[in-house]
Amino acid sequence: MTDLTKLTLEAALGGMAKGEFSSVELTQAHIDACAEAGKLNAFITDTHELAIEQAKASDARRAKGEAGLLEGAPLGVKDLFCTEGVKTCAASKILGEFTPTYESSVSANMKADGMVMLGKLNLDEFAMGSSNETSAYGPVINPWRKGEDLVPGGSSGGSAAAVAADLCLGATATDTGGSIRQPASFTGTVGIKPTYGRCSRWGTVAFASSLDQAGPIAKTVKDAAILLESMAGYDAKDSTSLNVAVPKWSESCGKSVKGLRIGIPKEYMIDDMPVEIQSLWDQGVEWMKEAGAEIVPITLPHTKYALPAYYVVAPAEASSNLARYDGMRYGLRVDGKDLNDTYDRTRTEGFGDEVRRRIMIGTYVLSAGYYDAYYLRAQKVRTRIVQDFENAWQTCDAILTPTAPSAPFAVGRKVNDPVKMYLNDIFTVTTNLAGLPGISVPAGLDQDGLPLGLQIIGKALDEDTVFAAASALEKAAGFTAKPEKWWA
């Protein structure tokens, strides 16, 4: 029998539908792959026994003709989504052994569609990081390797590494400043952050609520579309959830891009851009032209202010969201000499360095006297960034950019320089600030044989065009490289 872990989600669903193999067989093959991949540290919690039970139940449903959209597919769930009865800790010590008594809306949608859950995937603590090195459960190691261990990107590093290493057919992820797309670029996988409000935030551990959005990491553009169809949908329990229909995005994949106007923003040609990334971007332009698209130069003048604005808005919202971790109702409690001392000790021991740093920045920019200078100004700059995109949509239908300013880097390389680490998100963060959809597609290898991604940004709610353009890019790039399996 062929190696079932090499299949795409689409092919695996097709194989089960034709009765070529069962969900139990497919799931067992992935459990075996996970068992060999401990060195990658992609999972925080394994749920293999549960997965086999779910696979059996799935096979029974299929036998009765009740197959859902993801019926019997073994998938991974980022450990930021609450899962009923399964430990959820956001890669933080402060949540301890927290075991939700409820299910996040996104993972509930996927369960209802027949998902088999292999386990909870590692991430940067509270999704704060671009390299998966801030996890209290240790760094995730990129399956792609060059002499030394490389980071998989972050914060959804476990999701990206697990998909790249064929440990699961796809995974959930979240993106606040680039946390789906940058790890996808670093691991040769596809990752989409949909329009803000497409996926419910209910039951997902909050980082920066006006920016947080869930999406999938997958092996192909079509797989990403299938997963997003399941994850998205209106939810009354999230007041920012959009009450709009979920299109059949998988049908947008492969659609012609003839006549589509693709914008190329000159502000994304940054200083110090590696030559290989610039030439991959140029190649992407050629590919889109050959597919019949029209290339339009555009300007997004406030691009350089996106990251600084993000590092005001995101920490401010995080400092508010993370105030709930007080050691009283759930998670870690470190007893002190009185109530205040207990709060201080719990939070100081429970949060890691980067999370403490962001809480303090957020507290500072929101504190009396500084609110207008920092927070209010950043929110106004954010409006400017939205206006940039609105102007661009006058002349183009989608935008093509690189996903990240570098290939995956070595573990430990940037961990002591916060600003340098933050620059990883330079091309992705603008869409979070504006609420727009963005997808990363693996497009080539650098001279060290490491993957590089290109990004397509679309109008709000126009994932259709994003998927069409992304699949044109995917087809032209013909990216089939896989990392050598050194970890088994």
């Binding site: 052994e97 006006s210 406030h302 507290t363 100004r377 409006t383 609420g435």
Partner: protein, 100 residues
């Protein structure tokens, strides 16, 4: 470029830590102040942007806040709520004394 906010001092870090309910050792105050100043200096670029007459963005998507009936929709799940409590007793959270 105007600089509306002075550099963060070790004393400021102490105050921010207190507001954040975090403990910072005395010998970590200055390094943390340097760290924050590095980040804040980079954030100062925002002062270059003309934001006169610009409304602050409050939501990523243009929609009005949804309303629902003011009715109880959930409840009766005391055991679930207490399930992950670090300390509990007889249906209550047990917390440190806060009033002498």
């Amino acid at each position: 470029m105007s600089d509306p906010v002075g550099a963060v001092s070790a004393e400021d870090v102490k105050k921010i830590a207190r507001l954040s309910r975090l403990h910072v050792e005395d010998d970590r105050l200055q390094p943390l102040a340097d760290d924050l100043n590095g980040i804040l200096a980079w954030i100062e670029q925002l002062n270059e942007v003309d934001v006169d007459g610009v409304e602050p963005m409050t939501s990523a998507v243009d929609m009005s806040a949804p309303l629902r009936k003011d009715a109880v929709t959930d409840g009766g799940i005391r055991d679930n709520i207490l399930k992950n409590a670090p300390k509990k007793d007889d249906g209550f959270f047990v917390v440190p004394r806060s009033v002498e």
